[in-house]
């Protein structure tokens, strides 16, 4: 603890920064005031310290390189879309909204063209020569329908029966193996070829063995 009545110069120097900041208690401040009145050296230190604080604290001491502001503005404009009239924040919303509208429109259009039934597979085409009431098997994880007992049924644990008409309505395509006979009769013209190619592509995706309906 400093004896405030008998401050020496070293004690004053130790507290001079706090003194300048007004961060000394009243008793110490009085003692320092008294010391400065009688000690020219410490008064000089105090004046110099105040000059330092005053000069460096001036806004003019904060100089930036030429063009600093322009470069900063440019970088902000590039990264946070500061410039302009908020285009980027609009764009941030517009892009996903436009994409959503496009997708929704596509789905509605597809549904309208397919008589209101959404095809489960984009490869699915109606196989017109399959008897609509034919009992077929569908299963989860596959887009192909089969006749019961077909060795290429995918995920047998989830298989269930339905009619060919319902299966096709739900977007399934016929297995080119077990339903080949119907496909053969239906493969007249390009549409049939596409059905077969599509079915092959689907089956390939699913790792199923598919015979080409167009060849062999």
């Amino acid at each position: 603890m400093v004896d405030q009545k008998m401050l020496n110069c070293e004690q004053v120097w130790r507290e001079i920064s706090n003194y300048v900041d007004g961060d000394v208690e009243a008793g110490l401040r009085s003692a320092m005031d008294e010391h400065f009145r009688t000690c020219k050296r410490c008064a000089s230190v105090l004046a110099g310290t105040r000059n330092v604080v005053q000069l460096y604290g001036d806004e003019r001491m904060l100089e930036v390189p030429a063009g600093f502001g322009q470069r900063l503005e440019k970088r902000l404009a590039k990264n946070v879309a500061v410039k302009g009239s908020g285009w980027s924040s609009w764009a941030a919303w517009l892009v996903p909204v436009a994409a959503l509208l496009l997708i929704t429109g596509s789905v509605l259009l597809t549904n309208s063209l397919s008589g209101g039934h959404f095809l489960r597979s984009h490869h699915a085409e109606p196989a017109n020569h399959i008897p609509p009431d034919l009992v077929v098997v569908v299963s989860d994880g596959s887009k192909v329908f089969h006749v019961a007992g077909c060795p290429f049924i995918h995920d047998k644990a989830s298989e269930r029966t339905t009619t060919a008409k319902e299966a096709m309505r739900d977007g399934y395509v016929p297995c080119t193996r077990c339903l080949r006979q119907y496909l053969k009769t239906g493969l007249s013209g390009r549409a049939g070829v596409e059905v077969a190619e599509s079915a092959g592509a689907e089956a390939e995706e699913e790792g199923e063995e598919v015979l080409s309906a167009t060849g062999h």
Partner: protein
């Protein structure tokens, strides 16, 4: 839209305008962000320069700090001063950059010369010339500003950082301690040393008269 310079001249209006800008940017008006930070671009740069001591690195760090401030603007709460928040982000960015780039190696000599023991040892002023108040008009002269900047550049990093944040950025003692991750006691000790060292360094200029070569002081030194 008001000029940033005008904003700074009236603290009450400035505070209101600044709060409006902050809220607008927080609500998504990104284009107002530069207007919000423009009054502080010099302070941000000075803080980065005090730590990095390289103009190019300081500018890059200052820009990066601004971007981080923008990215986190929604986390800013009105109870803090925006300028302080911005400076703290800048200090963090500069300190992180210095650690990453190992520029601390460049400070090795200084570090050895003024390690912890040196910091704890009391600093005694060396010059006792009769100083009087230097008019702030002295800063109009580029030479004076340059001399002051050079003097600041010669003191050790740990003193310079505290001095810049406290006396140039005007953070308080507690904010300075938090920004640099040191104790309040360390801030006070380093600040004292920085001020006294700068005072001694500037004494040379005092004696050489480069503070006095002002038009209004010809033939009549004010001290």
């Amino acid at each position: 839209m008001s000029e940033p310079g005008m904003v700074l001249n009236n603290p009450v209006q400035a505070g209101g305008r600044e709060q409006d800008l902050i809220l607008s940017v927080q609500r998504g008006q990104n284009e107002l962000f530069y207007e919000l930070v423009r009054p502080y671009e010099r302070r941000v740069y000075a803080a980065a320069l005090a730590i990095l001591r390289n103009e190019h690195d300081a500018e890059d760090a200052a820009q990066e700090a601004m971007l981080k401030a923008f990215a986190n603007i929604r986390q800013f709460r009105a109870e803090a001063r925006f300028s302080t928040w911005l400076i703290q982000i800048t200090v963090n960015e500069a300190l992180m950059r210095r650690r990453r780039e190992r520029t601390v190696v460049m400070e090795g000599i200084d570090g050895r010369r003024s390690g912890r023991d040196d910091e704890e040892r009391e600093y005694a002023p060396r010059d006792f010339a009769d100083w009087r108040e230097i008019p702030s008009e002295a800063l109009e002269r580029k030479e004076v500003r340059q001399r002051l900047a050079e003097a600041l550049g010669t003191i050790d990093r740990k003193y310079r950082e505290v001095f810049v944040l406290r006396d140039m950025e005007h953070l308080n003692i507690q904010e300075t301690a938090e920004a640099l991750g040191i104790t309040v006691a360390s801030v006070k000790t380093r600040l004292l040393r920085a001020r006294l060292m700068l005072r001694d360094l500037l004494a040379a200029g005092w004696e050489q008269g480069w503070f006095s070569r002002l038009p209004f002081e010809k033939g009549n030194k004010p001290w």
